[in-house]
């Protein structure tokens, strides 16, 4: 009775401790969604720009929108209404559909300083005469209602020529004042989100805003909206990962509970078995919270997968528990083996601490802290609460039968060597790339949506997010001046057909020098009035028809030039923000290219464009980042492997025993690699993490089998424990391998394969031991 009371007391204390930890974590830990936590620290300026580009660049914030499924007029109306509804929405920096009405007031006010047409002709009598003649025809044409309102203050239609020069690289056709695709079936819009491309929550908010606005417009019309772009993809990825993780997790949990119940026939055990795992999760979170203050969503998702190993610890304890054995004594007996397993797994994860990737370091801390706490609680706390009756698993009759079935011929060293050789041959001779260097290959975005994105990008001439040139300068003004100097060279690239189009900040905001130059060429009030008078001669305009124009030009002469980073009424449209930004030690101006046909010409252009101009192939640079990150992790893993061998050797006290424990794990790892390679999988970071996880599990199995030695009952209990562990792990990861998300699939397949091979190979150990003992 007192024993049971004491157990209940400890149980309550444990739960309270968990509750306190949970309260701490819940109040202190912030969740981050920035994928760059999982990208390596850049070492070169180019790599720095790649990372900036991935999250912040002009291309990453663009959402491409298509409206379809109705007649042109309805689509165009919807396109205009969508802009109207979202104009001041906090999720968007801007949303455009080519309509002239979306020109901001600041642009109208500064038109004589911003318009590129001002460089081609002075505002003199000849220019004005030609313009007034053209306007006369406009007035008489059916287009008059569209143009007449602009005429009095802007007879040269400067605002329209700015709008034309701002249109995307290759302007889509305009129907009803809105962009349409070539077939005229889809109205096109481009939105720039305030949230970075890789902020799935911010992107989701933006998408929801779009959708709710669209739903109001589309009610009863059968109209559909398609939204693509990096931001849409990251939101989609998060949503899908969450959804799949939730249902896979639910099935896995149900399966796990069923398995534990079948294995132990005691509901009490289900709760007790969960305690070390819960402690591991909370300890891991507390550790990350203490060290970083925030945790990435991916760390959480993977971390929980990785510390699933901790579930094995109580299983070993319960499988070895039987009548007449004090739980404490049981735990003490198992501890050397358990501790070796925990320590070696932790060592493997130490490798990720030095990877130079914040997300991976978080993951490592989370797992190490979690596993250590799970091991310690299994050793010191679980026996205190695990009072009551236990069946001796060794007496279960089904176990006998299983043992007979699972008795495999022991593998001799020669067989090991041959198997290893075969695996190595398969690994290195298999066709296809060994490593996956393309970050994009991991995208869970549906193929159709990617195709839509490519199609919309072509129609809108949006930058293709691969080639980028960067011009750095000490100030924004200098950067703009250098862009202006580079512009003729860029125009030549377009004219030659090397690229379809270019985009850069100076297209929208001329340097202040350029603005002043245009300003100084504006005629004074008297001269302009004189020119206008001459231009109006014999034309049927009223003498004072263009008084507003005279006033506007006079005002333009007094304006302070627009600056990058101007605020309030003088803020330039947000178009600019992704293209020109301040960074450590200066400013960076980006030149985005679309439809690159000849990348070699870009490099030639950069060479002539002067110092500080680099052309970046984002695909190549990100591949290099991935390669560098991987070689660093591989080096760390090699060191960790050596450490691990040392720990196992030290713990077992014999080289022979250490070799026997390590050999199945090593062969399993090779076998998994061989299967993946033969299946044509290129390996990525997630395969590596999963291999480490599988190796840690395999080492546990081997350690326990090795420990069981020749005693039959002890061997049966070990078999029970390892079997439950292996089955539960296999269940979880086999489910993951069914996922439609590449990352989850590669983790699932790798670990499931690893568990399978490790279990089979570890089974060969008891017999070997028996033989060894008999000999």
């Amino acid at each position: 009775m007192t024993g049971a009371n004491r157990a209940a007391g400890w149980f309550v204390v444990w739960l309270l401790a968990l509750a306190l930890l949970y309260a701490h974590v819940a109040t202190h830990l912030r969740l981050s969604g920035d994928l760059r936590l999982f990208l390596p620290e850049p070492t070169t300026p180019e790599q720095g720009l790649v990372l900036e580009g991935i999250g912040e660049g002009p291309a990453s914030r663009l959402l491409l929108i298509a409206l379809t499924g109705a007649d042109q007029t309805t689509l165009a109306e919807a396109s205009h209404s969508l802009i109207e509804g979202l104009r001041d929405h906090p999720s968007f920096r801007g949303i455009h559909n080519g309509a002239t009405t979306t020109i901001p007031e600041v642009v109208t006010r500064y038109r004589y300083l911003l318009s590129p047409a001002m460089d081609q002709r002075p505002l003199d009598a000849t220019t004005l005469r030609a313009a007034l003649n053209d306007r006369l025809q406009d007035l008489l044409s059916p287009a008059a209602p569209l143009i007449e309102p602009l005429m009095a203050s802007d007879p040269t239609l400067e605002v329209l020529s700015i709008a034309e020069s701002w249109a995307p690289f290759r302007s889509p056709q305009i129907i009803d004042d809105a962009w349409f695709d070539t077939a005229g079936e889809r109205a096109l819009l481009v939105a720039q989100t305030r949230a970075a491309g890789f902020d799935p929550d911010g992107q989701q908010q933006a998408f929801s805003a779009l959708e709710s606005e669209f739903r109001k417009l589309a009610a009863g019309t059968g109209m559909r909206m398609i939204v693509t772009g990096p931001g849409r993809f990251s939101a989609l990825m998060k949503e899908r990962t969450q959804r799949e993780a939730t249902w896979l997790g639910s099935i896995a949990t149900a399966g796990l509970l069923l398995l534990l119940f079948v294995a132990y026939r005691k509901p009490r055990i289900l709760i007790l078995a969960a305690l070390p795992l819960a402690s591991a999760a909370l300890a891991g979170l507390a550790c990350v919270s203490l060290l970083y203050g925030e945790v990435h969503g991916i760390t959480l998702a993977f971390g929980f997968t990785l510390i699933g190993v901790a579930q094995d610890y109580p299983i070993h304890l319960f499988s070895h528990q039987h009548r007449g054995l004090d739980p404490f004594a049981n735990a003490r007996k198992l501890w050397p083996t358990l501790a070796t397993g925990v320590a070696s797994t932790c060592i493997a994860y130490l490798a990720f601490l030095t990877s130079g990737v914040t997300g991976l370091a978080q993951l490592a801390w989370f797992t190490i802290a979690g596993l250590a706490v799970a091991g310690l609680t299994t050793r010191y706390l679980l026996p205190r609460v695990a009072g009551g009756e236990f069946d001796d698993t060794a007496e279960a009759r089904y176990l006998d039968r299983i043992e007979t079935v699972l008795t495999l011929p022991a593998l001799r060293p020669l067989a090991y060597a041959i198997a290893a050789g075969a695996c190595l041959a398969a690994i290195f001779l298999a066709r296809g790339a060994f490593w996956e260097n393309d970050l994009g290959a991991l995208t869970p975005v549906p193929r159709e949506l990617l195709a839509e994105d490519a199609a919309l990008r072509r129609e809108l001439g949006a930058p293709d997010a691969r080639y980028l040139a960067v011009i750095t300068a000490e100030s924004a003004e200098r950067a703009l001046e250098r862009l202006e100097a580079a512009a003729p060279g860029l125009d030549r690239l377009v004219a030659e057909g090397a690229v379809a189009g270019v985009d850069h900040a100076a297209r929208y905001l001329p340097s202040m020098a350029k603005q002043r130059q245009r300003q100084s060429s504006l005629p004074d009030a008297a001269a302009l009035a004189e020119s206008l008078k001459r231009a109006q001669q014999d034309l049927p305009y009223r003498a004072d028809a263009f008084a507003p124009f005279l006033a506007e030009v006079a005002r333009a002469r007094e304006l302070a030039p627009l600056e990058a980073g101007g605020a309030g009424d003088d803020a330039m449209p947000d178009l600019l923000q992704g293209l020109l930004h301040e960074r450590a030690g200066g400013w960076a101006a980006l030149v985005a290219f679309s439809g690159v046909k000849n990348a070699g010409r870009l490099d030639e252009w950069a060479a002539t464009a002067g110092g500080g101009t680099v052309v970046i192939d984002l695909k190549r640079e990100s591949a290099m980042l991935v390669i560098r990150q991987r070689s660093r992790i591989l080096a760390c893993l090699a060191i960790a492997a050596l450490l691990l061998v040392g720990v196992v050797r030290l713990s077992l006290g014999s080289t022979l025993r250490a070799v026997r424990v390590l050999a199945p794990m090593l062969l399993s790892t090779l076998a998994v690699l061989a299967v993946l390679r033969v299946a044509g999988q290129a390996l990525d970071l997630f395969h590596l993490i999963s291999l480490v996880l599988a190796a840690g599990l395999g080492l546990d199995y081997a350690l326990f089998f090795e420990r069981a030695g020749a005693d039959r009952k002890e061997r049966l209990r070990t078999l029970h424990g390892v079997l439950v562990c292996a089955l539960s792990t296999l269940l979880v990861f086999a489910l993951l391998s069914l996922s439609s998300i590449p990352v989850l699939r590669s983790i699932g397949t790798t670990v499931a394969l690893g568990v399978f091979f490790n279990f089979l190979l570890a089974l060969s150990l008891p017999r070997a031991e028996r033989k060894h003992a008999a000999a």
Partner: protein
């Protein structure tokens, strides 16, 4: 008592009925006389005035009517220009200029005019009444049909359209914009080709008293 009140009401109805029925019939019969089988070509002369202009501008050419909501406006003088309207789609073609393409809905002045014109030629009273409030007046010089836009967006741009004609021929369509002092007077048929177009305009385009 009941029959007394009833007979009074009946009196009112019979008093009003002839006037209402007469105007209604008249509108129907007028519309019937205006119907033309497509294709039709009608000469036009258009007088434009605007707050920006100190005198009116005149263009002339042909209107080609190819069926309901299908119309071309071909300017011959003082310059060459062709506007094709098909449904809501408007294309303006002018020598050495890119095609200007827009929707009738974005140019309600033109839209109203053309809906009116094409509905008149096809005798589609329902189409006319969907877009406009109609009122018919008769005078010594002929008839006058005023069209007041029902749609608020269109009404914000056009004050109204007035069609004047005599017998089975429309003679002039006047469109008055809400702001900017824009009016367009479109003289049609023989009146448009008269050497004294301005005189014809004064005669046929002014509102009936």
């Amino acid at each position: 008592m009941i029959s007394g009140r009833f007979s009074a009401a009946l009196w009112c109805v019979t008093l009003l009925a002839p006037a209402a029925a007469w105007s209604n019939d008249d509108l129907d019969s007028l519309l019937a006389t205006l119907v033309r089988e497509p294709p039709q070509s009608i000469a036009f002369t258009e007088f434009h005035s605007s707050a920006l202009l100190d005198r009116e501008l005149i263009v002339s050419g042909m209107l080609d009517y190819a069926g309901p909501r299908k119309l071309s406006r071909i300017v011959v003088a003082p310059y060459a220009e062709r506007t094709d309207i098909d449904g809501d789609d408007v294309r303006v073609l002018r020598a050495d200029r890119p095609i200007r393409r827009f929707s009738l809905r974005r140019a309600p002045e033109l839209g109203g005019l053309l809906t009116g014109f094409s509905a008149l030629l096809s005798g589609d009273r329902a189409a006319l009444e969907r877009e406009f409030e109609l009122a018919l007046a008769q005078g010594t010089g002929g008839w006058q049909l005023t069209l007041e836009p029902r749609n608020a967006r269109v009404r914000a741009r056009i004050a109204g359209i007035r069609v004047r004609g005599a017998g089975d021929a429309p003679l002039c369509i006047v469109t008055v914009a809400q702001s900017g002092g824009r009016t367009t007077e479109l003289l049609l048929g023989n009146a448009a080709t008269d050497p004294d177009a301005a005189g014809q305009r004064d005669r046929h385009c002014a509102a009936l008293p």
